[in-house]
Amino acid sequence: MSPAEIVVAPNDGSYLIDGYELVCGLEVHVELATATKLFSASANRFGDEPNTHIDPVTLGLPGALPVLNRHAVELAMRIGLALNCTVQPSTFHRKNYFYPDMPKAYQISQYDQPINVDGWLELPGGKRIGVERAHLEEDTGKSTHVGGTGGRIHGSDHSLIDFNRAGVPLVEIVGRPDIASPDEAKQYVTELRQILVAVGASDAKMEEGSMRCDANVSVRKPGAPLGTRCEIKNVNSVRSLGRAIEYEARRQIALIEAGESIRQETRHWDETDGRTHTLRTKEDADDYRYFLEPDLVPLDPGTEWIEAVRAALPMLPRERRLRLSQATGAPADGEAVMVVVERGQDDYVLAVAESGADVARALVHVKEAYAEQGARPSVPAADLARMIVMETSGKLTSTQAKTVLAELVANGGGDAVAIAAAKGFEAMDVSALEAIVDDAIAAQPDAWAKYCAGEEKAMGALVGAIMKASKGKADGKAVTALLQSKRG
């Protein structure tokens, strides 16, 4: 092999658009699942009547002072530790800017000393995406602009503000620009979401806004210096994230190819037209005049607390996928394992296996039939195990097994033997099946001849007749095997 044939693959060569690499880093905000707000005792609850979870601190009334929520600190540490960060002593700053839904006209956030730094998240395929920091900050209220166009404040007649969300604790997870494709971005957010749910830090629902994702996107020719980046906001689902990043990359490439330059700016993803639009340019950026929040003292959780939080961390999705993969033989990044672990049903699958069922069948059934079930499925593990044992011992065909399982799921459990009996799913013995097969061959000599001549399609007519004659009790696999053996 000559040296010329050795190609050094940029981004491991997996993703190039028109010869350009994508460089993407994600900033993810998650609302923490605390009972109360970050700095006051008002409830942290989504979806209630507007302005029912407010107090002097939330409204920024004169004289009100923030008091840090200990549970929010604990959840932030869980996130940091799950993302392999260093948890360190930290401080709070004020980020000053005017906006009607920002009650104090400053946001209390962490600036140069965040609580979590220097971690990473491992994608299911093994690639690590760096995490620069994961810091605590408070959410703003929510504005609804009435009149005008597009729900924007500009041109609206008036605005309504709901301060229920103001002061809700957030952790902002700032990823390094290690993401090289829209698919990696989707994997990152999906994996992050699972980690957040697993550690009990957030329900992390993008659709409800409890997890919000901004993407910094730039492109470059392989080996070239970093390009100018644009920040994409208003991405409200994992699917949109992939679309928005790809659109933005292509937009930037088109500009470069046309000889134009990229302007550093914040852009708004529009789900309806599938494009990004300028929101504000760098020149319009606020000067936030950060300074140390004098109403709070430095936060030093101390080694003991940090280690207690670390020790209490649950098993993370990646470890759980490995565990399930080893138990079932299914690949760790395969669909079944990914889906079941994402739903949090892996413990259940293992419990079904412990009750004596084949673990691989358990995985398949749970993946197929439990889409609507949460981490604690309603069917007792022993009930599902019993059904699987019937199936693997040949007492139920796979079609019958699905029917019984549907019944179990609908009833939240039950005796699989009784359900099968009630449906007339008694096992068909081999001699009875052979008689039916012989009858079918005799009744359709043409089909049999074609099948014997190697025309596999002809088997369909025979199988159909056999299934009909057995009233669906025949196992499809057994029928196929019999026909093949008779053909010789």
Binding site: P62, G63, V67, F98, F291, D295
Partner: protein, 482 residues
Amino acid sequence: MSATPSTAFEIAAAVRAGSVRAIDVLEAHLGRIAARETDIHAFNLVTADEARAAATRIDDLVAAGRDPGPLAGVPIALKDNMCTRGVPTTCSSRILEGWKPPYDATVVSRLAAMGAVSVGKTNLDEFAMGSSTENSAFGVTLNPRDTSRVAGGSSGGSAAAVAAAFAPVSLGSDTGGSIRQPAALCGVVGVKPTYGTVSRYGLVAFASSLDQIGPFSADVRDSALILESISGHDPLDSTSIPQGPLDLLSVLDHDVKGMRIGRITDMPEGADPDVLGRLEAAFDALRAAGATIVDVELPSLKYGLTAYYLIAPAEASSNLARYDGVRYGRRVDAVDTNSMYMATRAAGFGDEVKRRIMLGTYALSAGYYDAYYGKALKVRRLISDDFARAYATADVLLTPTSPIPAFKVGEKADDPLSMYLCDVYTIPTNLAGHPAMSVPFGDSREGLPIGVQVMASTLGEQSMFKVASALERHMNSSGGRS
């Protein structure tokens, strides 16, 4: 029934003992307010009806054989930057006109729980920014000792209320001298305690890292009583020191024999000769009482004023950003949100407040932060270091409170810089978070009161009160002339 007692200490004792009724004490004070308030303008609001109801409740408790608390029936005036539930709290600013807080400041609820009776909200420089109370949107407070002169500021109303005996005690807030300077100008005692000893919850913020609530009173003992009552940890203020109330009354009788009184050899110059004369008299009195006078150097003290006028406005620019017309207080409608902000703030704030918001915004701006705010923080640290060295050899330091006695109304109103110089001796303790208090120590040749400032290190209130008490004993024994 005995004659109405005059100090808070005596009033509480008499009311608790049932020898005097709270309502009678209150009426005596309301009577003085009725007689003189129009000449003084100490108050933005006198809450006579609420006070009468509170005093009656105290008397009912006493009649029922129950103890209304250590401040039973003590009338108290509150600076109008402390939140009072359902009672207007204006900060002497048009921008908060008509706003009624839905909650009480921690100091307000503590005082009420101890049986004190609030008589009203006192005037101040708008948002506590000033040294003469001339920056109030509702008119100047005049000095009860000479009504052609200012009462000082920013807590001028609270100082004047005590000087005019409208209340035996009052509360002020001190960010750079706003309790001590008006105390000195009005001839009363005023205390700024250690940062974090009194809760700031419900105190409308000017500069959060400097603000501290403290008492005014006619004598040292009453300030000790009030400070004991309002100090102690508050979980609602994260900067509150986690410890119980200060123990002060028990040390007032202690003598100062063997105490080391620091004289700052490189003190900022420019004080009036009468003021310096009274300071010398104070050193003499303490020496005569058995204390030792030691020389200390604080070379960075001279930068204190400059650092303060960067740090305090910087914090203020952020603290006052919430007055945007959106949720409460004044709103001036305009075509869009930004125009509404500008119209509201232009109409709602006075000149001094606007000046400091602009100063502070500038000091924090990108490109200027390091040169201004950042450098000021370094000076703040240097001043703390200087103090630490000084307090290694001295228990307390003595300085003038104000470089000059009370000045004429309007004399400095158009000269912000000379006004700022009023706080040259008081500002450094705020930067360090230390306690300091002003004690009346005689008069100028013109007959205007002069205060001496006693400063101490963090939580050095006991030493400070011992020395203040000794100075007061000296004045009492010399019949007002030392």
